[in-house]
């Protein structure tokens, strides 16, 4: 197997960004086909394709769409382009290189779920991609792909871009809905799920950029065609964002089920000279870390990584070599979750702060005996006790780093210096 350019086939061509270029390369042809189908046929096709949400949770897209109530209420399609899981940058590439690919996927999806209003929620820092999308939306409107009676089908859709302002929690779908409503981006209790009561308490489907873009390909090639890539339970291709200590970091599209080590060694050109693989965070910072030994067995699909006690998440792979101190790496992660906790739920608000304080204490050479057990205890108590998954997402890296690299944490506490970085503490490591 090798890299499969399916969604990314034309990403190397600058003209793919423009309406004309996109159309010349086959763009908006699938929309014409889709508008002649029954909405339910599209939903069935997406269900049969096995497409799972590409934002992180991996929930079956067609099943999610099926949760919409049949009560005639207005409903919304919301594209999650908040992309803020540390390590993830594939959606940015998709919006920069192929804005119309996302728009076409959204029109088809909105038609399928009978939404007349759709939003793309993009993170505030992505000012470049936001400008590209604004232009593409205007082009699509002018060409009659958006607005009233699209291509004479009788289907109306209004699509707008909503801009965030810096908050990881807005990537959580109910937090995103709060933000879209003009409030603080704080998540809401589920149920009701957004498909039943979302934006303005109306049925709302929230899907990731890559998920919506994939819908076009499922309709073009049929569920069976889409399933030519990937495995039984993890169908299709996926864009992986790979960063860290590899020679060629970047975004690579491979079929699900691809070997993690092949991606590192073949696509990414392997480790830096003289360096050895130590660990990989396979699905964004929330995913439990796996050791070099575990990496040998890992395939990039939902089931393999779940069996290994971690997750595919957003497909953000952070490669860590033997020059890194795991205590130091974890310190950036604990800082992140403390900073990003929205503060609604006590276990998360307090727990993320305690964990950051303890890990930072250790990395500054001020660790105390008992810190490791205290960390494990706090992390354990943060799981499953809050409105959203941020608390669990903060606990999982701590539990996995401390358990799998316990010797580094014990050494740092005992010796007041890193086991790895020439016996340094934080101030020396980062001088």
């Amino acid at each position: 197997m090798a890299e499969s350019k399916y969604l990314t086939e034309h990403y190397g061509k600058p003209e793919y960004c423009t309406l004309d270029g996109y159309k010349k390369l086959g763009g908006y042809q699938v929309l014409e086909k889709a508008l002649k189908m029954q909405p339910q046929q599209i939903i069935d096709e997406v269900k049969a394709s096995g497409l799972r949400g590409r934002g992180g949770a991996g929930f079956a897209t067609g099943v999610k769409w099926g949760f919409l109530p049949n009560n005639g209420e207005p409903r919304y399609l919301l594209c999650n382009a908040d992309e803020s899981e540390p390590g993830t940058f594939k959606d940015r590439l998709m919006m920069e290189r192929a804005p119309h690919q996302l728009i076409e996927g959204m029109i088809i999806s909105a038609f399928a779920i009978k939404a007349k209003k759709a939003y793309i929620y993009i993170r505030g820092e992505y000012t470049g991609p936001a400008a590209i999308l604004e232009k593409a939306i205007a082009e699509a409107k002018a060409a009659g792909y958006l607005g009233k009676n699209i291509l004479g089908s009788g289907f109306d859709l209004d699509l707008d871009l909503y801009i965030g302002a810096g908050a990881y929690i807005c990537g959580e779908e109910t937090g995103m809905i709060s933000s879209l409503e003009g409030l603080k981006g704080q998540p809401k209790l589920k149920p009701p799920f957004p498909a039943v009561q979302g934006y303005l308490r109306k049925p709302t489907i929230v899907n990731n950029v890559e998920t919506l873009a994939a819908v076009t390909y499922i309709i073009r090639d049929g569920a069976a065609g889409y399933r030519k890539y990937g495995t039984e339970k993890s169908a299709g291709t996926k864009l992986f964002s790979i960063s860290g200590n590899v020679n060629k970091p970047g975004t690579y599209e491979v079929p699900l089920g691809y070997k993690l080590m092949d991606l590192i060694n073949i696509e990414c050109g392997g480790m830096k000279p003289g360096r050895k693989l130590k660990a990989v965070v396979p699905g964004g910072s929330s995913a439990p870390v796996i050791t070099a030994e575990e990496c040998e067995r890992a395939t990039l699909d939902y089931e393999c990584l779940a069996q290994m006690g971690t997750m595919l998440g957003s497909g953000a792979i952070i490669v860590i070599d033997d020059s890194n101190c795991m205590v130091d790496v974890l310190s950036t992660i604990t800082h992140f979750y403390h900073h990003e906790s929205c503060g609604q739920c006590t276990p998360c608000r307090e727990g993320t702060g305690w964990m950051e304080k303890i890990v930072h204490g250790i990395v500054h050479g001020e660790g105390k005996p008992g810190d490791i057990d205290l960390l494990l205890k706090i992390a354990d108590q943060m799981k499953g006790r809050t409105i959203c998954a941020l608390s669990d997402a903060a606990a999982l890296p701590v539990l996995s780093f401390v358990t799998k690299f316990r010797d580094e944490f014990e050494y740092f506490i005992r010796e007041k210096k890193s086991k790895v970085r020439g016996g340094q503490i934080y101030a020396q490591m980062h001088a």
């Binding site: 390590g87 965030g164 302002a165 003009g182 953000a316 860590i320 950036t332 992140f336």
Partner: protein, 165 residues
Amino acid sequence: MFKLSEDGLKYVKSELTRYETKQSAIIRCLYRAQDENGGWVSPEVIQHLSEVMEIPAAQIEEVATFYTMFNKQKVGRYHVQVCCTLTCGMLGGRELTDAMMKEAGCKKTGETSADGLFTFSKVECLGSCDTAPMLQINRDPYIESLSTEKAVQLVRDLRAKAKGH
């Protein structure tokens, strides 16, 4: 007293009817007002927006204080936001911030240099990990694949550019 420009007022008025509810316009209007107020959201900005948008000041303030991209304190002309999360942290984001701050004459993050040009923040993942370490100045396009040397030179270049104007 802060007041939006005439164009700014027009912008706010059009944003108010853009979304399903006018509350949804708060973020974009805050950006606009922040830009017109030299890069930060002062209490006067919130008061003014509240009057123009006919939305209680408390609602606007809660949005302004929840999101990191609204500066609640004055910042320099160049608000340098360096990513220090995970990959950027591993690949030198933290060292690079310290080196830039030293060059700019800032003792700590959040503090503006005496010449009023630079304020530094260590920020969380900006979604550009394959080009780590990287940073964003104000809301401009990302500056990527940096080294400490390049970053320090950037401070010098920006200072020279500011003096030239």
